[in-house]
Amino acid sequence: MLNMKDIMETITMIQDENLDIRTITMGISLLDCADTDIDKSCEKVYEKICRCAKDLVKTGQDIEKRYGIPIVNKRISVTPIAMLLAVSGGDPVKYAKALDKAAKAVKIDFIGGFSALVQKGFSAGDRELIKAIPRALAETNFVCSSVNVGSTRAGINMDAVKIMGEVVRETAELTKDKQCMGAAKLVIFCNAVEDNPFMAGAFHGPGEPDTVIHVGVSGPGVVRAALQKLPDDASMDEVADLIKKTAFKITRMGQLVGSDASKALGVPFGIIDLSLAPTPAVGDSVAHILEEIGLDTCGSCGTTAALAMLNDAVKKGGVMASSHVGGLSGAFIPVAEDAGMIDAARKGVLSIEKLEAMTAVCSVGLDMIVIPGETPAEVISALIADEAAIGMINSKTTAVRVIPAIGLKDGEELEFGGLFGTGPVMKISMVSPSKMINRGGRIPAPIQSLKN
């Protein structure tokens, strides 16, 4: 029998604590769209996306109404476009435009997969795609892009790292009239996952089924509200336990929504990504959870420890609640999307160096960080290399999504709006790493890769 306390708890979570399903993401394989004629290939891509996803938005809305839970975004991830480009050749931006057109036609919020996987080296289509990223992101509205430059198994492709520093800068420059927005839609990964429903790094891995439904749950506000009720002298064991219980409930909701969506669309259910994904809304911040645990401001000493515990407890709670957990699963720390992190960065308490340490224990990496516009490409490349190294050695996903604020210096801010939030320009060391970056080549796979 339902009891009043449980009912009120769910209602409060949704009404006051910003509990939502962040995204239903449909993965669509485009491998069968490859054609030696790029125009034909683009046509097939457009047709397949429209055919597979025509009911995605409506299904999402129906579920929202049935359960009274907001589903913030409906998204699509596709096969890394570099694979199609390998067959067709031609101007990669044509694919970006086809994706953009399809996204608009089915009325989704984002489409991810203008991607290349180059952790060990470039194959046909990879270099061309990567070079075209700045233009693709400048000339489209819904397309997101990602490049995997390293993995624990393969090491780090330093040639790709070098190019990506330049690509990030160029992307920001080409979109400088739009708050350098292009760079906010570009992620550079190490150990990228193939079933991630979250943007900007979503793509549909080649090992995935033809179509699949993934769900990304959110809910930092719920965790924080639960912790608020704990007495100040509750031990860290109790804190971790409460986070686990809360994560369990949130994930169960995601599981319900995911299996309903998969049934309604007749598409297999993939995974739940049980990430705590903050939004700029008040009360929906991961930094505020860390502060609730007992830090004065996020970024102080102790932040890494608190985040490590949070990340782990979220996974432990969620894993039993869902039949398939995947994606990035953990706590995100995107600075510009998190009200508490924005404040901490403005105060100067949260620095890029501290964030880098935090990425060793959270689920992704240096995310939505605005850096000064004058930052040279080599410095960005070196930052990517550092982050990839953390991922490679710790066998975890790490990512870099930095936005060079063209024309702005530290102390100023970029205003993205919507889920992307506001980014204060953060200080970054400008000491030159260019000799190392220009060496190129590959960082060999670490000893951890020899698991067999």
Binding site: L2, M4, D6, I7, M8, E9, T10, I11, I14, Q15, K65, R66, Y67, G68, I69, K249, R252, M253, Q255, L256
Partner: protein, 87 residues
């Protein structure tokens, strides 16, 4: 199939009556009602049978909101509570 209706807001005359009438108009059978008043706030939880509902859940919510516009109303399918609070 059952749904949970929650009505929260400042207490006033006739809330239960209006909500129950709206439910009856769309053929939703009221199965259980719990209500409490905390200070001046009114909180009611109603479990209704929606197997023979003549409209969809969202329409019912809109109708209920229209009948007592001062209150915050949620209408949610029972499954969400079951999945979140039961193993």
């Amino acid at each position: 199939m059952r749904a949970v209706v929650t009505v929260i807001g400042k207490d006033m005359v006739g809330i239960l009556g209006k909500v129950a009438t709206t439910c009856a108009n769309v053929n939703a059978n009221v199965m259980e009602v719990t209500q409490s008043i905390l200070q001046e706030y009114f909180a009611m939880i109603m479990i209704i049978d929606i197997s023979a509902l003549s409209c969809d859940i969202d329409e019912l919510r809109q109708k209920l909101t229209a009948s007592v516009p001062e209150m915050t109303i949620h209408v949610m399918h029972e499954e969400i509570f079951d999945s979140m609070h039961r193993i």
